[in-house]
Structures are given as C-alpha cells and as structure tokens.
C-alpha cells in the first residue's frame, strides 16, 4: 500500500516520534509505514487520518 504520510507529517511539522506518540504506536511503526514495509491496521489508519483531519484514502492508496 502506498502512502503520503511523510508529506502530511512534515506539513504539520511533526517528527515520527511525535506522530507515534499521538496515535499510540512506536516510532519504529511510523517509520515502517512511511517506508511501506508495514501496512497499518484499519484502526491505526483511521487514527492517522483523524489526526491529520483527513480521510484514509487521502493518506493511503492501493499499490
């Protein structure tokens, strides 16, 4: 699954650690998602979208 998480995170001036803290996961998980080595669960995808006040499909798209 492709994602634009790094762009959203940088636009909001957040570090991976900040975002991880905000959505309740480890920094390594955010890093793995951004590098497209891990697909988040629906719950985490919704949490990320909610944090950026957007929709899941704004952040993620099928590869």
């Amino acid at each position: 699954m492709n994602n634009v998480l790094p762009e959203y995170r940088e636009r909001h001036d957040l570090s991976q650690a900040d975002l991880a803290e905000a959505v309740g996961v480890t920094r390594q998980t955010i890093n793995a998602i951004e590098r497209e080595r891990y697909n988040p669960s629906l719950n985490l995808a919704f949490a990320l979208a909610a944090h950026f006040d957007s929709h899941i499909e704004d952040l993620f798209s099928p590869s």
């Binding site: 570090s15 650690a17 900040d18 991880a20 803290e21 905000a22 309740g24 996961v25 480890t26 920094r27 390594q28 998980t29 793995a32 891990y38 988040p40 669960s41 719950n43 985490l44």
Partner: protein, 131 residues
C-alpha cells in the same frame, strides 16, 4: 515531551528484552553450574520484573510487534509441520529399511514436536469455533 516519551518507550523495550535475555542466560548458567534452585529463583525474578515493566508501560509494544510475533509463530509452525509431515516419517521409513538407526533423542524430539502440533490444531479449532 513526546520525544521524551518515545525515548522512554524505546529504553523500556530494550530493558524488557535485556531482562528476558538475562533470565535465559542466568537460568542456563546456574543450571550448568549446579545451582538449579538459584537458577529458578533468578529466572522468576527477572521474568517477573520484565512482566511488571510491560504492565507499567502498555505502549511498549504495538500492532506491528503483534504482526511480527504472528509471522514468527507462523514460521515456527511451518517448521514443525515440515518435520511432522516429512522429516520424521522419512526417518522412520529409513530406520525400518535398515538404512539408519533411530536414536533415543530423536524420539524425545518427535514426541515433543507431535505434542506441539496437537496443541496447535486444538487452538486452531478453538479459534475457528469462536469466529
């Protein structure tokens, strides 16, 4: 603040795995040294401390860790399945034909392997029943 918490979580993860490694090493070392009671006490203390640490910091592991554990467990079951379905029957056949001997230690491993496989099938059926 967030960065501080993230660093604390990473430190706790390292501490957790360090405690488990120390428990394993202490258990093995003290058993070999001839102190089984001390080995057991050291093991319980170290594993207990790790368990308490995990209880205190519930953000230490997340869904990706769960996924990694699931993959590792799946691979372990694949190894068990291979040994149950191919290795041990082949060894039994070769032993029956006189090409090799079946050592006692292999019997112990095969029974352990088969028992684990039965446990896995049981938990699989239980999981299916609840879904």
């Amino acid at each position: 603040m967030a960065i501080h918490n993230s660093h604390r979580t990473e430190w706790n993860r390292l501490l957790f795995f360090g405690l488990l490694a120390a428990a394993f090493i202490a258990m093995l070392g003290l058993m070999i040294s001839g102190f089984p009671a001390v080995a057991a006490v050291a093991f319980f203390i170290l594993v207990g401390t790790a368990t308490v640490l995990r209880g205190i910091d519930d953000s230490m592991f997340d869904e990706r860790d769960t996924e990694i554990v699931r993959i590792a467990s799946s691979n372990t079951i694949a190894v068990l399945s291979f040994s149950s379905a191919i290795f041990f029957p082949t060894m039994a056949l070769l032993t029956a034909l006189g090409y090799t001997e079946w050592p006692r230690w292999l019997s112990i491993i095969s029974v352990f392997d088969a028992t684990l496989f039965v446990v896995w099938v049981s938990t699989l059926l239980l999981a299916r029943y609840h879904r």
